[in-house]
């Protein structure tokens, strides 16, 4: 049975969605062609001084994070023997993303006083990714057998994995 665990597929799909959202926000951050400021919405969030760290748009950092999460997901399929380390890495990245999104959402609500829907979408996605990866890490660590030949040999069913 060469079946991939459902959670790892879910995680890759969420990371792809994140790439879409953060990619859109990055394009907006670099696009200077905005030619109208209307009542109610004037890219307040993206123009706030919190939208950049050392000149780099947060959206770009978010995009890099989702790309990393997706790349690690692919690597995990290819090298399932290392699933524990790779899942641990992904859970860590997603945890950092979730905490930072929490900080950004706090800024939106209480400091900038404006909400950016795409930023909220990204916060939801990264939180979901963190939950899925944590669940995955739990599964992978549980499956890990202990033998006197060594530690962490993968279960037989996962030794050869194909993407589909």
């Amino acid at each position: 049975m060469n079946r991939l665990p459902r959670w790892s597929l879910t995680s890759a799909v969420l990371a792809l969605a994140g790439i879409g959202v953060a990619g859109y926000l990055t394009v907006v951050a670099y696009d200077q062609s905005l030619l109208v400021c209307g009542l109610g919405d004037c890219s307040t969030v993206q123009n706030s001084p919190y939208a950049k760290i050392a000149g780099v748009p947060i959206a770009l950092l978010g995009l890099l994070m989702y790309l990393a999460l997706f790349a690690v997901s692919l690597a995990r399929w290819r090298w399932w023997r290392q699933a524990d380390v790779l899942t641990s890495a992904n859970a860590g990245i997603a945890l950092a993303g979730t905490l930072y999104s929490g900080y950004l959402t706090y800024l939106e609500l209480f400091v900038i006083n404006a909400i950016c829907q795409w930023c909220v979408a990204s916060a939801v996605l990264v939180t979901a990714l963190f939950l899925v990866e944590s669940w995955g890490l739990r599964q992978v660590l549980r499956e890990e057998p202990v033998s006197d030949r060594g530690v962490g040999s993968p279960p037989r069913a996962h030794r050869r994995q194909s993407v589909l």
Binding site: A54, S88, L99, I112
Partner: protein, 253 residues
């Protein structure tokens, strides 16, 4: 794992007992290492994530609080053409364009910095267009304050220099970019008499005029910025520079 059950040790064989004990020890050791590894795989990402987020928040707070040094932009595009108060260009030009803007509006900044030099070069410097800037300050308190400050600069004959400096120093909306302290700093780099500027701003000398300009724009139908009117047309917004130049070309005799 079950090797020991399949091959029961022969009682009394000391060597065999030692072998089994070593095996059991190795197994215990392997289990200990596995537990340790599992623990590391959980703890390490948490610690790294916490440290990374801590650094990120610290950096974000630092760059947000750091009020960027006030920049003085190149204003030669304004000073090289006839300018008078809120007007730029030949008073007898055949086309009169009004622009309504808000100094906190990123689209106005974008228009000012990317497209306006072309307009100056092709239409204002050539005597085809007389340009007027009016305030439609709607984004927040700092918008009206910046508009009042520009009026105070106008009193000292440096409206366009101050106007360009406001856009050059736009850092966000209602985040202190145009606090009174920073407006004074901008006035200083523009070369205004800061004392006079300060009392003009503090006394609200042009408060009512700015409000009047906003009410007037609203009654004309301005709802967004930048909005334009060519020879008294109804206000319109643009999606590209071409939208504006086309209207100007149509109005030219």
């Amino acid at each position: 794992m079950s090797t020991s059950r399949e091959l029961p040790p022969r009682a009394g064989s000391r060597a065999e007992q030692e072998r089994l004990s070593r095996r059991a020890q190795r197994k215990r050791e392997a289990e200990r290492r596995a537990r340790q590894r599992r623990l590391l795989l959980v703890i390490v990402p948490i610690v790294i994530a916490l440290v990374a987020v801590g650094i990120g928040i610290w950096w974000s707070q630092r760059s947000a609080q750091e009020v960027a040094a006030v920049q003085m932009p190149d204003v030669s595009k304004y000073t090289s053409v006839p300018h008078d108060g809120r007007f730029l260009g030949d008073p007898n030009a055949p086309v009169h364009v009004i622009e309504w803007g808000d100094y906190q509006c990123p689209a106005c900044k974008s228009f000012e910095q990317r497209f306006f030099p072309t307009i100056v070069e092709q239409y204002i410097a050539t005597g085809k267009v007389r340009w007027e800037f009016r305030d439609f300050a709607f984004i927040g308190a700092e918008s009206t304050r910046a508009a009042e400050a520009a009026y105070c600069a106008l009193d000292q004959g440096k409206f366009w220099e101050f106007h360009a400096a406001l856009y050059a120093n736009q850092t966000g909306e209602n985040v202190g970019a145009f606090s009174d302290r920073r407006l004074e700093e901008i006035a200083r780099v523009v070369g205004l008499d800061v004392g006079q500027f300060r009392s003009c701003l503090r006394d609200g000398t042009h408060k009512e005029e700015v409000q009047q300009m906003i009410r007037e724009a609203q009654s004309l139908g301005v709802r967004a910025t930048p909005s334009f009117s060519v020879n008294g047309s109804a206000p319109f917004t643009i999606r590209s520079l071409g939208d504006l130049t086309q209207r100007i070309e149509e109005a030219l005799p």
